[in-house]
Assembly symmetry: C2
Homo-oligomer: 325 residues x 2
């Protein structure tokens, strides 16, 4: 075994969420060691310049931006690993230009994310969170039965982005008797669900929209006033993608004025800031971006991250890289 | 068409929940009319004696008891219709002795009940209601990420009572990658899930118990200290059956002391009274007995109730009667 200081270094700009929660030991390896930018007294740019020739790999998590400026300060960088699914914190154009391999947690957290999407949908339709508040406030005794919910089965569910996560959401909701259709960049030849090339048309033909796509320049504010209006007064929206895929200000307006029926939101435009107007509403469920936060998936993900970095330093193929088409 | 006062009468002891919510018109028929005990100034026993020879059918909903005393005052009674699924408010022994046909809403509300069971399970495992409270209290900003949830997939789910509802719960949870086994009065030859004749053994081999059976003398407090202890510290319980199937005092003690991990409860022993100790807990979801309360199912149920009563008065076979074995 090489001595620890001979090992190649994986740059950490800030502590990734997984390490903050579980400590660094679970990420240790005899193939690499971590270089922690935040432990240095140097300003970040000087720190990066000092290690410019040695840093071949970076590890980050969702909230940690990797800008073009950072990448330009690291001429030896060849691999960027992010522990989440989203890529919107990474300057993908610069990575492509430089030929840097970008890897995310792949499909490891997809089941968890799909589970929460279904949980949020059942919750909004069947008013689980709202009725729990009702019971805890003692209102069941004083005010009698809670208001009726809406049935899950038979709902026309439009899935926006039928990748890993979207497909798992569809599989689950089929078991509830929902009717699935979808929108995505291209029609999927292997899928029999009806395809809508236009998200407004999907919304017009759906009782529920579930946002499962990534955030890109193309999907930013894709769910706008027009789409929400097509979804309509009886429509429900669930977002487990990224907050900025929806025009949040418009969504809040629609929810407050009853122009759509309800929403289950795990993501927001300015996390951890959540629009205060939503706090008073019974027809929304607010989840603090935790669609992939289960103990089981953290375990799997930690193993996957280490295995991917070890593959990189052993010149083996990565377990997965991001296809950014 | 016969004149209204010539029509046979359906006795209502109290307004059934469905009528309270939607009015009586939706239950009207040209085959029968309603006889409303609560509108008479007479005490109930005298009122029943006055109509003893004419009442052939009664319509009730879940919270309205039909005792042996009531049944004995109605010698002409031949049919009893209840709008819910449960039968614990009806003296079934007396009905059997007298050969009175008992009909419930059959499988009409089963999907709704199964949907809520799954919703409560996802909620407890993924902490949906607890994290919604966290966001609404502004704690995401001040305290950072919420605690990790537990993955739905891979959980060993023990279903107690594999009838209509239990089977629909199993079908849904298979789509999430759960491993199903069950306990019921008898093993079902058509079912391939592992069967446990003993509910304590089922609990010992499960991460989750979902109570889907009816309340009878045999199932009263069936989920006792021994069963909860077999389920264990990491175990979760969901109850969409009836409150008294679980020894509620023991359940509360286990939840307060962390002897089981969490619970999703739609039913309680003394509804609408919910043990106050539960109000402070983040590991429980409290639902005000609304597993079958959706607008869609109320519609279907109302049609089903009217059709069943019309079948009775037309001497046609009932759409369903309760098999009480």
């Amino acid at each position: 075994m090489e001595k620890s200081h001979d090992l190649p270094q994986v740059l950490l700009l800030k502590p990734p969420l997984d390490m903050e929660l579980f400590g660094q030991d679970r990420f240790s390896s005899d193939k690499f060691r971590f270089l922690k930018a935040w432990e240095s007294p140097l300003p970040l740019d000087q720190f990066l310049q000092a290690h410019a020739q040695s840093v071949q790999a970076i590890l980050v998590s969702g909230g940690i931006p990797v800008t073009a400026e950072t990448i330009r300060l690291l001429p030896a960088l060849k691999m960027l690993m992010t522990t989440g699914a989203g890529l919107n914190h990474i300057d993908m154009a610069e990575c492509r230009r430089r030929g840097i391999a970008v890897a995310n947690a792949g499909s490891v957290p997809s089941e968890d994310v799909a589970d929460l999407a279904v949980g949020l949908l059942i919750d909004v339709l069947r008013k689980v969170t709202a009725s729990d508040r009702y019971v805890r406030r003692g209102l069941w005794i004083t005010n009698g039965d809670f208001t009726l919910g809406s049935k899950v089965g038979g709902k026309r569910v439009g899935i926006v982005g039928l990748g890993n996560i979207g497909s798992l959401v569809a599989k689950r909701l089929e078991a509830f008797g929902c009717c699935i259709s979808y929108n995505s960049r291209k029609q999927k030849p292997s899928v029999s669900y009806p395809f809508y090339s236009n998200v407004r048309e999907l919304a017009a033909n759906s009782d529920v929209l579930i946002i499962c796509c990534g955030l890109t320049d193309q999907t930013h504010h894709m769910i706008n006033k027009e789409v929400l209006s097509a979804l309509g007064k009886e429509g429900v929206i669930v977002n487990i993608g990224r907050g900025a895929i929806i025009d949040e200000q418009e969504l809040v307006r629609c929810l407050v004025h009853g122009e759509i029926k309800g929403a289950g939101l795990d993501v927001f435009e300015k996390e951890p800031d959540v629009p205060k107007e939503l706090f008073k509403l019974d027809n929304v469920v607010l989840s603090p971006h935790c669609a992939n936060l289960t103990g089981e998936t953290f375990n799997d993900r930690q193993k996957y991250v280490v295995a991917n970095l070890e593959a990189f330093f052993s010149n083996k193929p990565l377990l997965s890289t991001v296809v950014d088409d």
